[in-house]
């Protein structure tokens, strides 16, 4: 009664203090209050005799931080720096448990006759697997309790690599995860940088879910400082990921930041490193030599290709064509022309690009942190700073990160409060008007380095020399004078999270999690008044009155500034009840049940200011008529002044209920079941379809613990199997008629809206059915350990385009109409090849993943639609990203490609292209590697260690670039095989490169560029990186330094073997990746 009264008083007081109108908050506070009271009611009763002792290792060195606990109670203590401890017993007969990570636990029974002081010798624990915990974002499990498929990347492995990005560091070391370097890119391509176990959607969201400290991370993952990351867990199958429900269809990456630890003296660590990356290797990209390109231009000039541009008086023609034109106009004679062209052909613009536009990139990364804790509190504070100057001379970026977290234990350790703050501020600068040479012999600077004007590819240089007769601004484009940053992107992210855990009664706890995240990003592009961009825009629309000579500039003088900003706000709350305890001897339950709410709100807007004056921050937009069509100065077409103002917002809301129960018996048998229901504010969906229930189940059996198990060579053997469902949400589809407000106006300047979705009452969420079978093993002494897993993922109800009769007004609509199956294997084997003074540890990864479209209702169209973009026009029975090619029957006697139509040789290129007979094309293979993996080696000796990672990919093909008739004749000179082209009869016997024809025929060109003769095997083995580090304190035996090491790390060292004979790097087909080297140090105090 008395307690009830106190409770109510406390509750009303809190309500009053916070003046909180919402029952939500008051309920929360009430819960807190109850727990406070509870906590206060049970104060600990510590009394009894003190016992003391020392803990040492086998070499007799004292060990600090060893836990001394009394079995069956919560009383425990730690050893100090000298390995000494003292503990009070509340009863004379107790069992002391002496435990420390990496050592075998020692038990000692005390009695009135055995009261110390004790001396415990701890023996290093090498026979057990390392204590690996798996953080699912909802609970932390020991690996033995997890039936699902997960990969754990610890901070040591993460820190092997350098660089500012966290996710990059997963490349080549994460079982089952691949970076999609071979994905098609471009408009309408739906791809993700990272795939976990292949593809599970077609047009839905392909990205894995990223969790940071228990909640989805909605910011840019590049904002995270890798040095703050303690571990990353990748959840791959249903049992592991089902807890994330509808967002887990593509796998989950759970990132956990470093935290302070209780009962640990303050530790300080400092890291610093620098990375130098060479200039882009532009000379490795094949292109026509200046001489060859002038030869091409000469032929096109004679054929009349440039006449249209020559005749209109302003159109772009290259310097070589200007010379040829002078000759044709009898201004210069043929020998002068020859010598002028000859001197042009001596230039190679790439030399100037390397000299003036690129530099070696330098990345610097610094971080310092302090962490520690006592009995009731722990903390960690870190500050990091990154600064990068990039290869393009105008690009740079920097980032500041602050990370602080604290945990407090109260009420006899029953209540724990954890708070964390993460702050990131980054900015980057670049020149957005990047220069791209129009010819291989272009010159942007003279011999003294003075900027030279070049054409922008639209207007002829000789035209802008004289255009305007004084009425226009200087119309010359000098790339070198413009080579400074005009674009700044800034982003700021804050993330605050709090967790309160209360132990209701052993083993039941309840926890409240709350997250608030806010991010703001601003982009600012300023074309100054003197920039070419601004001068060109103003000049293009300048109106000169022919009779009065008056000049009117619809775009006012001054700069043009484009700003855009986006902010998002993320609120998440979670209540979870946890149970972790034995229900009977040997029978353990680890279960959670919870409820979660989340909201992600974002808004973005952009503005464009004309006539911008940076001095006064003023603009002249009010003088502009955006509806008027103005004649372009140089030709008769008209255009309006685009209005760059826009605004949009979005809101995602989610409500979820979930439960996960893991039952284990005698640590041999584990059963797990999870269920989750997600609801979301999918627009226009009936209430009962806003949610979807998903579930999973799994089991594992530690075979090696059975009595009948006698295989001494493999003392650890475990079998696992899971089955269940993940989902994938696509909020772009809805069940009701919905329309989208257009971003601009129609031809008559009215706003419009378009119908985005016809009614589709049967719409469902995408689902992925996931089965996984695994085997874990370890040989004696843990010498070789590993796992083998096999999985099948069936994506069904996938959002696809479903065909209906066009008389309905929609020929296709998005609905649940497609299916996709992915199956594969993940194998991981790690071996301690040599242990002793010299240690050699190696880990080997092998992954196999192959997907296949099993259902797709839309006819993919012509063979060219499939060959040109199979990912948008999937063919049932083949992978999502498959490469198809036109059949190749060589060149005919005129150097034209020969392909096939309806089984017969043909050179009717349009018919070949439009054919729907699938026999006329060939399936070349998967566009993504179906087999991949790595071999990571770590060698160490006396504080020196060498680590190198060899990665491999095979089972896929890529389409090599070759001579492209259309592109070449449209001015693209960056292509190989010009030398190899058919030139005279008989050449068809030595080459597959067709002759060049004028006018270029698009169909003829694409039959070659998409033919099977250009398909190459993508298989290769790469020396991905190499790291050499030295532990200094081993050398110096310093007592001040806890740890210190130096390292050198080198990346993109080259390809060790490749299947293609043309020296093409399949991961970087245009030009070779630049090599980089980093060096740095780590100091722990």
């Amino acid at each position: 009664m008395k307690r009830n009264l106190r409770l109510r008083t406390c509750y009303t007081q809190i309500i009053r203090i916070f003046r909180c109108p919402k029952p939500t908050y008051s309920s929360l506070l009430a819960v807190l209050t109850i727990m406070c009271l509870e906590a206060r009611a049970q104060s600990p009763d510590i009394s009894g005799a003190a016992m003391s002792g020392i803990v040492v290792d086998t070499a007799d060195h004292p060990i600090a931080g060893v836990t001394i606990a009394i079995k069956g109670s919560t009383i425990k203590t730690l050893t100090d720096h000298n390995g000494q401890f003292s503990i009070r017993l509340h009863m004379p007969n107790a069992v002391l448990l002496v435990s420390h990570l990496g050592y075998q636990t020692v038990q000692e029974r005390t009695s009135p006759n055995n009261r110390g002081p004790f001396r415990f010798v701890l023996i290093p624990d090498t026979n057990l697997l390392e204590e690996v915990t798996i953080n699912t974002g909802y609970q932390i499990l020991s690996r033995e309790k997890s039936t699902g498929s997960t990969v754990q990347i610890d901070s040591a492995l993460l820190n092997r690599r350098t660089g500012t990005s966290v996710l990059d560091r997963l490349d080549g070391v994460t079982n089952g995860l691949i970076f999609n370097q071979n994905n098609p890119v471009g408009v309408g391509v739906n791809n993700s940088d990272i795939s976990i176990r292949g593809r599970s959607t077609i047009f839905g969201n392909p990205n894995p879910l990223i969790i940071l400290d228990n909640f989805p991370y909605e910011g840019d993952p590049n904002n995270l400082n890798p040095n703050d990351i303690a571990s990353i867990t990748v959840l791959k199958d249903a049992a592991a990921a089902a807890i994330w429900g509808t967002r887990a269809g593509n796998g989950v990456i759970v990132i956990t930041t470093k935290k302070g630890a209780y009962r640990q003296a303050n530790k300080v660590s400092i890291t610093a490193n620098s990375t130098v990356r060479e200039k882009p290797r532009i000379f490795t990209q094949p292109q026509l030599t200046s001489h060859q390109y002038i030869e091409v231009e000469r032929q096109l000039f004679s054929a009349g290709k440039y006449n249209a541009a020559i005749n209109n008086g302003y159109g772009y023609i290259s310097p070589a064509v200007e010379i040829m034109l002078k000759n044709r106009n009898l201004e210069i004679d043929s020998s002068t022309m020859a010598s002028m062209l000859d001197s042009l052909s001596q230039y190679d613009i790439r030399n100037q690009q390397l000299e003036y536009l690129y530099r070696n990139a330098l990345g610097q990364q610094y971080q310092a942190d302090i962490s520690g804790g006592n009995e009731v509190q722990s903390h960690r504070l870190s500050i990091g700073y990154d600064s990068n100057i990039d290869n393009p001379a105008a690009s740079s970026s920097n980032r500041l990160t602050l990370n602080a977290n604290n945990s407090f234990k109260m009420a006899k350790d029953k209540l724990e409060l954890h708070t964390g703050i993460l702050f990131t501020q980054g900015s980057s600068h670049a020149n957005r008007n990047t220069y791209s040479p129009k010819t291989p012999y272009e010159q942007i600077a003279d011999i003294k380095g003075i900027p030279l004007p070049v054409s922008d590819g639209v207007l002829r240089l000789s035209y802008v020399d004289t255009a305007g007769a004084g009425n226009l601004l200087d119309w010359h484009y000098k790339p070198l004078s413009e080579n400074h940053p005009n674009y700044t992107a800034r982003s700021t992210d804050y993330r605050l999270n709090g967790r309160l855990t209360y132990q209701i009664m052993r083993p039941l706890t309840i926890s409240f999690n709350y997250l608030y995240q806010k991010g703001v990003s601003d982009n600012d592009l300023l074309h100054t008044a003197d920039s070419y961009y601004t001068r060109n825009r103003i000049n293009t629309l300048t109106q000169v009155n022919a009779t009065t000579g008056s000049v009117f500039r619809p775009i006012p003088l001054g700069g043009i500034r484009e700003v855009s900003s986006r902010w998002y706000k993320n609120n998440n709350g979670r209540i979870q009840v946890n149970y972790d305890g034995d229900i009977a001897t040997g029978h353990h339950i680890n279960g959670i049940i919870g409820f979660e709410l989340g909201e992600l709100k974002s808004e973005s807007m952009s503005n464009q200011f004309y006539g911008y004056n940076p001095e006064t921050a003023s603009h002249l937009n009010q003088t502009i008529d955006y509806t008027e069509r103005y004649k372009n100065y140089h030709n008769n077409t008209t255009s309006t002044i685009p209005n760059g103002d826009s605004m949009s917002g979005s809101l995602d809301r989610n409500r979820s209920y979930y439960a996960n129960v893991i039952y284990s018996a005698y640590q041999k048998y584990v059963l797990s079941i999870s269920a989750r229901k997600d609801e979301s504010n999918i627009f226009g969906v009936k209430a009962n379809q806003k949610g979807v229930p998903l579930w999973s189940a799994g089991a594992s059996w530690q075979l090696s613990d059975e009595k009948f198990y006698k295989w001494a060579a493999v003392p650890y053997l475990r079998l696992r199997a899971t089955y269940g469902y993940n989902g994938n949400v696509d909020k772009s589809t809805t069940a009701y008629l919905t329309a989208l407000t257009g971003t601009g106006v129609n031809n008559w300047n009215n706003p419009y809206a378009s119908i985005t979705n016809p009614p589709n009452p049967s719409l469902e969420w995408e689902k992925v059915r996931n089965s996984n079978w695994g085997l874990d093993f370890a040989t004696r002494g843990n010498r070789i350990a590993g796992s083998i897993e096999y999985y099948i993922k069936n994506g069904f109800n996938l959002i696809g385009n479903s065909p209906i009769a066009p008389q309905t007004g929609v020929s296709e609509f998005r609905g649940n109409s497609a299916s996709l199956t992915t199956q594969g294997m993940d194998i991981m084997i790690s071996a301690n090849l040599i242990s002793g003074a010299i240690r050699w540890k190696t880990s080997f990864l092998y992954n196999y993943a192959k997907d296949k479209i099993t259902e797709f209702k839309v006819n993919p169209g012509s063979n060219f639609d499939i060959i040109g973009g199979n990912y948008n026009n999937p063919l049932v029975g083949y992978a999502y990203n498959s490469l198809f090619a036109f059949r190749w029957l060589g060149l005919d006697e005129t150097g034209s490609p020969v392909s096939m139509i309806n089984g017969a040789e043909s050179t009717d290129y349009a018919d070949i292209r439009n054919s729907t007979n699938r026999e006329d094309m060939v399936y070349a293979g998967s566009g993504n590697p179906t087999h991949f993996g790595s071999l990571l080696n770590d060698l160490s000796w006396n504080g020196l260690s060498l680590s190198f990672n060899i990665t491999y990919k095979y089972g896929y093909v890529f389409r090599r670039k070759s001579l492209d008739n259309v592109a070449l004749y449209n001015g693209d000179f960056r292509m190989p095989d010009y030398d190899m082209r058919w030139q005279e009869p008989g050449d068809e016997n030595r080459t597959d490169v067709p002759s060049l024809v004028y006018p270029a025929n698009g169909n003829r060109t694409s039959i070659y560029t998409f033919s099977e003769t250009l398909i190459e095997n993508g298989a290769h083995v790469r020396l991905q990186d190499l790291r050499l580090s030295m532990e200094l304190n081993r050398v110096s035996k310093s007592r001040l330094l806890r740890q210190a090491h130096l390292f050198i790390y080198a990346r993109n060292l080259g390809i060790l073997w490749r299947a293609n004979k043309r020296n093409i790097d399949p991961d970087s087909q245009t030009m070779n990746m630049p090599r980089s080297v980093s060096f740095g140090f780590y100091i722990g105090l």
Binding site: K22, P23, S27, L28, V31, I34, E38, A308, N311, I504, I510, I575, L597, N636, T637, M647, S648, G649, S650, L651, D652, R653, R655, S680, N681, F683, G684, A687, K731, L737, T738, A739, L740, N746, N747, W748, Y752, A753, S754, I755, P758, P759, P803, I804, A805, P806, Q807, T808, G809, V810, S811, E812, N859, G861, S862, A910, N914, N1001, G1002, N1003
Partner: protein, 460 residues
């Protein structure tokens, strides 16, 4: 354990206070159309391939143009273009998603959604705007249905209209209903009924700025066009008169730049209702870079040297072929196919000639031509009788309405009444002939419609 109970109770409180939590919309630019403004925004969706678009097959099959040479013909990207040119039996060659068929159905879908949505709007709040929106939807639906009928059904013939196949008459937006084809009679009744009702609903003003939106004069002009294609001259003349009484302005071509590649704006004075042909086909594009085809040389020879249309409609490219400049649509590469006052004068003149008043007919024609010739070079035309007047008017009609997608339905209706126009093409040493009233005057329906809805295909 009692705390657990308390906590579970609190969870329920938390849960219950968020009933409307999931009802917020996920994006600010997504709407469930419900207001007049929403519906008008839908009808203003002209930028893409839905509203204010018409079929281009009639243009492809017409005698307005010819290929520069056989190689150009062979290099054209779509089979539909190549097959249409030679009046092949199957013109799509398996190509699907043809906008010629799909765009008008898209318009009908939008219109039906608006008409259905309007039922839930209270008219009394803004009766004028309500009626205008309803009239707009009815008009664009009728306009799209007529476009389908003139291309995919035989020309109207009162003798056979009860049995000839028209188009499915979709009057509801639901996409789970598939309809068979109605008769030509039912189709034209629906079109005319809708257009007349729209004329009652729409304000009497000529729409001055927003040419994608219909007006009362657009309804009348459209009805004049429809009745003429049915060879119903009495009604055609009456509606042409109705339209002209509301608005009859002509542009004097002497005031227009002959050097501009875009001589007409999309708000020009003759424009009554704007639509353009679907942009599936490069060969219909009105630009000098459409180098595949050239304007029919025989047609070009019909223009008098002082006829300004020669300079305003056509240009000569660097490679020597004659291309079509941007027409009355103003912007965009694809040809104008909408309603304008010049067509009304031609309808009026033709109807006058057909009811044997040649003088009046020629006077109307001269009024138009006076705006087309160089100011001092125009000699008014004359005709001795109705027959000569009619021939002159039809000749001028062809010259005036070139590249506007009208020629094909003219060929259909004129051959129906015995004009006996035979089309011939020479290509790669072969001659192709299309005889009058050939079933190939009716285009086949694209395969995707036939296979998915099972409606009856046209026999060619």
């Amino acid at each position: 354990m009692k705390h657990t109970t308390t906590i579970l109770t609190l969870i329920f409180i938390l849960y219950s206070c968020s009933d409307n939590f999931l009802n917020e919309k996920p994006s600010t630019n997504i709407i469930v159309p419900s207001s007049l403004e929403d519906f008008r925004n839908l009808l203003d969706y002209t930028g893409f391939q839905v509203l204010n678009k018409t079929c281009a097959l009639g243009q492809l099959a017409s005698d307005d143009y010819e290929y520069v040479d056989y190689d150009s013909y062979r290099s054209v990207p779509t089979l539909t273009e190549r097959n249409s040119y030679i009046w092949a039996k199957d013109i799509f060659g398996g190509e699907i998603d043809r906008l010629d068929w799909n765009s008008p159905w898209g318009t009908i879908f939008y219109a039906n959604n608006v008409l259905k949505g309007l039922k839930a709007v209270d008219r009394e709040v803004n009766p004028t705007l309500f009626d205008d929106t309803q009239g707009w939807a009815l008009f664009v639906r009728a306009y799209a249905m007529y476009d389908l009928a003139r291309n995919f059904s035989p020309a109207y013939d009162s003798q056979t209209a009860d049995t000839d196949l028209g188009i499915p008459l979709r009057l509801q937006p639901e996409i789970d209903i598939l309809l068979p084809r109605a008769t030509v009679e039912q189709t034209y009744n629906q079109i005319i009924g809708d257009a007349k009702y729209a004329a009652e609903l729409l304000g009497s003003d000529y729409q001055p700025t927003y040419k994608n939106r219909p007006s009362k004069s657009a309804c009348f002009a459209f009805l004049a066009r429809v009745y003429l294609s049915m060879n119903n001259y009495e009604q055609a003349e009456a509606y042409a008169d109705n339209a002209l009484s509301l608005y009859d302005k002509l542009m004097d071509y002497n005031d227009i730049s002959t050097t501009s590649s875009t001589p007409f704006s999309n708000t020009n004075d003759e424009l009554i209702f704007a639509s353009n042909q679907v942009n599936d086909y490069i060969t219909t594009a009105t630009t000098s870079s459409n180098s595949y085809v050239t304007v029919n040389r025989e047609l070009l020879s019909l223009y008098h040297p002082s006829d300004l249309r020669l300079l305003l409609y056509f240009g000569t490219s660097n490679t020597g072929h004659i291309f079509v400049k941007r027409g009355y649509y103003g912007s965009g590469l694809y040809p104008f196919s909408g309603l304008a006052t010049d067509e009304l004068f031609l309808i009026k003149a033709e109807c006058l000639a057909r009811r044997n008043t040649p003088k009046d007919a020629i006077a109307v024609l001269n009024h138009l031509l006076a705006h087309r010739y160089e100011s001092n070079a125009f000699n008014p035309l004359q005709a001795i009788d109705a027959e000569e007047a009619l021939a002159t008017i039809l000749n001028e009609r062809r010259k005036e309405l070139v590249w506007r997608g009208i020629r094909w339905s003219d060929l259909k209706r004129l051959n129906k009444i015995g004009a006996n126009i035979v089309l011939r093409r020479q290509l790669g040493g072969e001659e192709f002939v299309l005889s009058p009233n050939d079933p190939k005057y009716v285009f086949p329906i694209p395969d995707d419609e036939i296979t998915r809805s099972g409606i009856t295909q046209n026999q060619r």
